[in-house]
Point group: C2
Chain length 268, copies 2
């Protein structure tokens, strides 16, 4: 997996993730809360952006957070401890090769992870083995193809398409959000319920204009400028025009739309 | 305005509208209800698809429904009377040239109308004159550019783009939903609040698979086949491939997403 463009792996992207987490935490996470005493696996915790919210919303659950990157796990542990939470334990681990006993967990939580995996079905199957019968899996993913805005701008769509294409070449899928229902269905989960979480931003929501349109989404696309040009996906001028087009949407008469998808499903 | 492709003007499209109204009535209209005794103008009632819901949700408001087409008004009147509602009066009228006294109405309701107008700002200004100070305007519009689906299909996007282009050539704007905030702002309405109403359809929602993806959206795009080919916007094969792609999204593993936008704003 190329780490050049993937979020969660360098400082700038870490900052972006924090920003995203604080702006969107209510929209994405407010309805996730696990019962006291339940065993919860967070698969792919990264630097802990979502872990703090999980820990806060489920103060009496026992959360185990894993990530393939040891340095991310260390960073996540530091931050969760600094925030004063004691209900999370951390360990490095590969989703495809976890050493927990089968059916160890009551619930599993997977956020912004599948988009990076070449074999998301296999990952979900592997996680399903760790889930008790009657337990739930919660999956949250974005979908870059859900992006539209006013004023519309063709170069901006081309720049976004570069991110999607780079992620694809690295084995991922930046448009995976819309696929959560069929994916969970293919792995034989039951009672699958998908709820889109649309981020609608106009000038009446200045915190989202700053926090989402500018500092999360546009920053993410800006971050693939060099990789996109190097890969021959776009020329400099078009890319820069595209970024200008995205910045244009944060003006007083601009509008920006993006949709995350949250799925919850049952192991029967 | 070309009436070839525009909904509300022929039988097939009438049926489509009814279907759309019944499937989506909760999503779009459940939060619209006007107080007893208030004077409400429905500008552009078409054949009354939304009028029945308005009348039902605001049983003690006095609703005046107008449309530029006399035959549509007659049809709307027949249907609303057949449904047993007595709180609506009908008359033909042109939004740009209405004969009501200024500030005659407490509230104005405009649904699926601006998308067809070459001068939406002027229409809103004209309606604003009829609104009392402190009164509200509610505007509901679709946005065909908000459409995405799984499996993705390039020909399907091209077929949808034909509808958007034909509507544009007829002076309209099929992507106007995302613009409601800036448009209402440009006409100096206050306290503008826009809420997207996303229609998310997967196999767990068979009534939406039938009622929305197939019988509303795909039927609408199918309806522009001849006009699109005649206008040289697309070749037959690509269009038909696109329609096949849209039908593909109604299978068990398909997903379809579309967003309507609802705005409410105040005259100060």
């Amino acid at each position: 997996m190329s780490k050049k463009y993937v979020h969660g792996y360098d400082l700038r992207e870490n900052i972006r993730l924090q920003d995203q987490a604080s702006t969107l935490v209510e929209l994405l996470h407010s309805d996730t809360s696990y019962p006291a005493g339940s065993q919860v696996l967070e698969a792919g915790c990264g630097v802990g952006a979502q872990t703090i919210t999980l820990a806060r919303n489920s103060p009496n659950a026992c959360i185990t957070s894993i990530d393939i990157s040891e340095s991310s796990v260390a960073e996540a542990k530091k931050r969760v401890e600094a925030a004063g939470f004691t209900n999370v334990s951390f360990q490095p681990g590969d989703i495809f090769n976890l050493t927990f006993e089968p059916e160890s967990f009551d619930h599993i939580f997977v956020c912004f992870v599948l988009e990076h995996l070449a074999r998301p079905l296999e990952a979900l199957n592997s996680l399903k083995n760790l889930l008790k019968v009657g337990g739930t899996i919660t999956v949250i993913e974005g979908d870059h193809g859900s992006t539209y805005f006013y004023p519309d701008n063709d170069a901006a769509h081309q720049a976004i398409q570069c991110q999607i294409e780079l992620q694809k070449r690295a084995g991922g899928n930046a448009n995976i959000g819309r696929e959560l229902y069929p994916i969970l269905n293919a792995v034989d989960f039951s009672s699958i319920y998908v709820s889109p979480r649309m981020v609608y931003v106009d000038a009446s929501k200045p915190h989202l204009v700053e926090g989402f349109t500018k500092n999360t989404f546009t920053a993410m696309i800006e971050g693939v400028r060099e990789s996109s040009i190097e890969a021959g996906l776009i020329d400099e001028n078009t890319f820069d025009e595209g970024i200008k087009g995205l910045y244009r949407t944060i003006e007083m008469d601009g509008v920006f739309c993006y949709t995350f998808f949250k799925a919850i499903a049952l192991k029967q």
